[in-house]
């Protein structure tokens, strides 16, 4: 499915932020925005939901910690109990450090791989770069034109007031997914 979009390019994050607010006020659907760095407040301005990756991280961490604790207990006290320095079979304090490390390792890798999976990032993927300078100094706002009420001219005029550098109409193939 392809759709018509309007690209507005800005040179400063504040322009983009202001424009986003104005565009959303007008009820125009924003497809996405592309910025060279993480512009603070943009996600809220665009009304994006808070990421649920924190839960992934938490669950992975718990699995790591509890799994490792269980494994340590099993190896030392159940699978083959061996007398080490007269310590009791089940010596919880000595199990803590490794369990902690396992938690951190799993949580870290879990959340990073979840990020890659959710954002479809993988090695060798060819990026659909929206603007040659979007990773340098240009902030690009992509608006959905398919709505019948979309008035390109008036939008462009409005954007002008936010110091838009250029605007461009484009047909986007695919679902407009970032």
């Amino acid at each position: 499915m392809s759709r018509r979009v309007l690209l507005a390019t800005f040179s400063h994050e504040n322009d983009l932020l202001n424009a986003v607010a104005a565009v959303r006020e007008r009820g125009i659907k924003i497809v996405d925005a592309y910025t060279p760095y993480a512009v603070h407040g943009l996600e809220r301005a665009m009304g994006l939901k808070h990421s649920r990756l924190t839960w992934v991280c938490f669950i992975c961490g718990m699995v790591g910690a509890l799994g490792m604790l269980a494994f340590e207990h099993w190896t030392a006290a159940i699978a083959w109990p061996i007398n080490v320095g007269g310590k009791p079979w089940n010596s919880l304090p000595s199990d803590v450090p490794v369990a902690f490390e396992a938690a951190v390792l799993l949580a870290g890798f879990g959340s990073v791989f979840a990020l890659f999976a959710v954002s479809r990032l993988f090695p060798g993927k060819s990026a659909d770069v929206i603007h040659p300078n979007s990773s340098d100094d240009r902030f690009v706002l992509v608006m959905d034109e398919s709505n019948a009420s979309f008035d390109t001219a008036s939008v462009e005029a409005m954007l002008k007031s936010f110091d838009v550098v250029e605007t461009e109409e484009r047909i986007l193939s695919g679902a407009g997914q970032s």
Binding site: T35, P36, H40, A76
Partner: protein, 477 residues
């Protein structure tokens, strides 16, 4: 300015932008966003200069020396080191703890300062993370090669086996180390790489079609700067920072437990975990300072690494030096107060015994010398800060040496008291680890953006080109 803007700028950032006019700017020299990109990418896009080549060749030859020494040691035996029946660890574990300690500052700067929203970290966090990575690599080598049978190092991992299954000893601090160091290395690598992805994309977009573009395309994972990805990315980055912070504390706590859980007087002490963490941060800061002062000169990054950064780091180093000094004093107090004669002897022996030279080198470098940083002119004098940082590095190496060797050389039974002289192979291995570190670091400067481009841009709150003049007037005022 339209009203909307005020509404969307968070309270915190309002403060930041307010204070930024009061504080010296993080990026000087009226840089635009493109300037930032250009400046940072420049070292990796142009041919290396002579200075780089000289540094690289020196590092490489040291690395080769180290490789030869390690090879010789592995095929001949640990006997090629100066250890003996009493002193089972010397340079090896000293170097290990030293390098781990160096590594910690990287994580501290990058993760802890990130969590505390210290924007000035952006100038140095990338190289600090790289430093962590390379330092942990150097550190990891020592526990590996210190084993009598290095080729069986995988026995440390709890994998199912045909021995019935014979697992590993989870009660051993050395095993905790295995997990701590490998976790630390992996998480540091991931943290570093995740931070690098947007910058790799920037380099990719700048590159002309060819091998370079292909490589950067491959490693930038198809990054396109979508705000949705940025949103998740920021979350994960914060999570990683949140994980790395306790990790860095746990790693050096566990390293200190190698000693603290033993029975050897001078090792067996509860103060070690905080003492070691403080020491690690201290040595790490010194190393970051050393590298930054060199890097800003060599790589023309004076506008990004400003004297303000150096001064803040110096203050941090001073405070850490004081904590470490307090720890040294506390050890003596605890020994005296405990009434344990073995403990008392070890500390008296440290200060007055045959290894007192090492002890006083350590105290001078770590406690006395950093006191100079109370003076602002010292903090702002880069050569002086550089010298102090080097001395702190030396002192922190000696701290580990003193703890390990001076505690071992005279323990319980006087019949086994002994002394330790490092062998040539040991020294070459130590030197080689520096070779590895600098070779990696120099290569890193050449192949990846040494400063986090996206983060600098995000944190520097660069004014709109049109507003430049007014800002400059403000900062000048």
């Amino acid at each position: 300015m339209p009203q909307v803007q005020v509404a969307i700028i968070t309270h915190r950032e309002a403060i930041m932008s307010e204070t930024s006019s009061l504080r010296p700017p993080l990026v000087t020299g009226n840089k635009s966003l493109t300037d930032v990109t250009n400046d940072i990418c420049a070292p990796m896009e142009r041919r290396p200069n002579g200075l780089w080549w000289i540094a690289f060749l020196i590092s490489l030859s040291l690395l080769i020396l180290g490789i030869v020494a390690v090879w010789y040691q592995i095929v001949t035996g640990i006997g090629t080191w100066g250890l003996n029946k009493t002193i089972g660890w010397g340079f090896d574990i000293t170097n290990f703890v030293f390098w781990v300690g160096i590594g910690h500052a990287g994580t501290l700067i990058s993760a802890v300062l990130f969590l505390f929203r210290q924007k000035w970290r952006t100038a140095v966090n990338r190289s600090a993370e790289a430093m962590t990575l390379f330092a942990v690599m150097c550190a990891g080598i020592f526990p590996l090669i210190h084993m009598g049978r290095t080729w069986l190092a995988y026995w440390m991992l709890p994998y199912p086996n045909t021995r019935g299954s014979l697992w590993v000893n989870f009660k051993s601090p050395l095993l905790w180390d295995v997990f701590a160091i490998s976790t630390y290395l992996l998480i540091s690598a991931v943290f570093w790489y995740v931070g690098l992805i947007p910058d790799l994309a920037t380099v990719r977009d700048r590159a002309k079609p060819g091998l370079r573009k292909k490589v950067f395309s491959f490693f930038s994972l198809g990054w396109n700067g979508s705000v949705r990805t940025w949103n998740r990315y920021e979350t994960v980055y914060m999570l990683l920072a949140g994980l790395a912070t306790p990790l860095v504390f746990s790693v050096h706590t566990i390293v200190s437990m190698d000693f603290a859980t033993s029975v050897i007087p001078g090792w067996h002490t509860t103060i070690f975990p905080p003492y070691f963490v403080a020491g690690a941060i201290f040595s790490g800061l010194a190393m970051v300072l050393t590298l930054m002062i060199i890097a800003r000169k060599v790589m023309n990054l004076e506008n990004y690494v400003t004297p303000t950064h150096i001064e803040r780091m110096s203050l941090l180093m001073l405070s850490m030096g004081c904590i470490v000094g307090l720890a040294y004093g506390t050890e003596f107090f605890m020994a005296a107060y405990s009434g344990n004669p073995y403990e008392q002897f070890v500390f008296k022996n440290r200060a007055l015994g045959p290894m007192s030279w090492a002890y006083w080198t350590m105290v001078s470098c770590n406690v006395f010398v950093p006191q100079l940083l109370w003076f602002k002119f010292v903090r702002r004098c880069l050569p002086l800060v550089f010298v102090i940082a080097i001395l702190v590095n030396v002192g922190m190496w000696f701290e580990r040496f003193v703890i390990i060797v001076s505690s071992l050389h005279r323990d319980f039974l006087p019949s086994s008291w002994s002394s330790y002289i490092p062998s040539l192979v040991e020294i070459a291995t130590f030197v080689g680890s520096f070779g590895l570190f600098f070779t990696c670091f120099l290569l890193f400067c050449r192949i990846a953006p040494a400063i986090a481009i996206a983060e600098v841009k995000g944190a520097a709150s660069l004014p709109k080109q049109d507003d430049q003049r007014s800002v400059n007037v403000e900062s000048a005022a």
